[in-house]
Amino acid sequence: MKEELFVSGRNIPNIDPYLNIWHWEIPLYLFLGGLAAGLIFFAAYFVVRGKEKEMPATVKWAPMIAPIALIVGLSALFLDLSHKLYFWQLYTTIRFSSPMSWGAWTLLLITPLSMIWVASYMRDMFPKWDWKFKFLYKFEAWVISVRKPFAWVMMILALILGVYTGILLSAFNARPLWNTSILGPLFLVSGFSTGLAAAIWMSKDKNERKVLSRIDLIFIGVELFLIIHLFMGFMAGTAVATEAAALFLGGQFTISFWVFVVLLGLIFPATLETIELWGYHVPKWMPPALILFGGLMFRFVMVEAGQITRFLY
């Protein structure tokens, strides 16, 4: 029998008996960040591809969610800080070794840019919209004139943002569940898939929905592949990795992960989307709602479970 005890009665809030320093704020933030990244990426992608007209929801309407998601996400992040009055210290330095630092800077760029993106389509969407000031009209005209390069910038920033949500976790080698390079692509793909789901939900155009659904199916496929890959990696890993995987394979997160994230959040909506593509009727809200729910669940599970995993010594 092996037992380990903290004799000194260590019972530090949020640290003992197991780490629980990040609560709902961080997974929500990661979810909203991924969602915004997906929305922005595909809006920009279809602009670059010159398909603004065919994909109106993706390019114009859905991106309206992005700045809201980012602001709510940032607020959640701010709420999570325990030394809030000093948050400005984030912007006194750039630290490349810290994903948190370059994430903060990326957000500082992408949040206003996403607002500009939405603003540049305001008069497209609401013909009666009045910018009131002349310089705003001038600015709008300039943005529209550089829309393609703007879209390129947004695509790159969205990729960084999407990957960042995963790397934020994977950079912590002390938490074996997170410490895998698959987490970056996995969070990216998952975030993009939630972005697509939001666009599908908002789209009223049948063809646009079809295009988006096809892309989404590919992303879901990749995501499932990455999840399998993740666990194969853990199972082939060291004791700490297999212990991390055990949380999902019979451990306390088994049901929340495999049932809610994988089955209800990925496989079931993917099946529904496929059925819909075959021409059967499926409630329109259902697949995207499930995907969004699955994406949120996924982040909650990963953040919660990851904090429990630790080195054994």
Binding site: E3, W22, S82, K84, L90, R95, A174
Partner: protein, 177 residues
């Protein structure tokens, strides 16, 4: 200069004096601690093995907490001491997640806090409070670059180990076995 600590597990009785001394020296709030004791029992009665370890921040050479700090509040001071500047810390918790030793905690005032090797004492040539109080004298502190320092001599004459070397942090807390 490279400060390090060697902890003699053959002498430690796990009394927790280091913990109280740290608490009073550094005004650590009740319910928190910068150092702690781990009791490890192995085997089956009566073939048993018991190890007490007085643990604290490992002041790693390759400190993940410093790497992941977004503001630079966590940094490395002279002699390799890892320190948090309270007024630069935003309390994001990244460093807490990054530490394989769970050596950091959020101070009730918000910033992240941890062992400083009693830098305010070390600067004046004193030992950390835990080292000076230990009734078994099982804690040895000093400069690894000085071959005659207590810690250098202890490491030279004894077998030792570090915790979770596979984490790659190059910890500077050595446990004499």
């Amino acid at each position: 200069m490279r400060y390090a600590m060697a902890i003699d597990t053959l002498k430690c009785v796990g009394c927790g004096d280091c913990v109280v001394a740290c608490q009073t020296e550094n005004n650590v709030p009740h319910g928190y601690c910068r150092d702690w004791i781990v009791e490890n029992v192995n085997g089956t009665y009566p073939s048993l093995d018991l190890e007490f370890r007085s643990e604290r921040c490992n002041h790693c050479d390759n400190a993940p907490c410093v790497r992941c700090c977004p503001t630079g509040a966590s940094h490395i001071e002279k002699g390799g001491i890892v320190v948090v500047t309270h007024d630069e810390c935003i309390g994001c918790g990244a460093c807490i997640q990054s530490c394989p030793y769970d050596a950091r905690y959020q101070h009730p005032d918000g910033y992240v806090d941890k062992c400083t090797f009693c830098m305010h004492r070390v600067e004046k040539g004193q030992n950390p409070a835990c080292v000076d109080v230990c009734p078994t004298e099982c804690l040895h502190f000093g400069d690894l670059d000085d071959p005659n320092s207590k810690v250098s001599l202890a490491l030279k004459n004894r077998t030792h180990k570090v915790l979770a070397p596979e984490a790659g942090t190059k910890p500077q807390l050595y446990f004499l076995t």
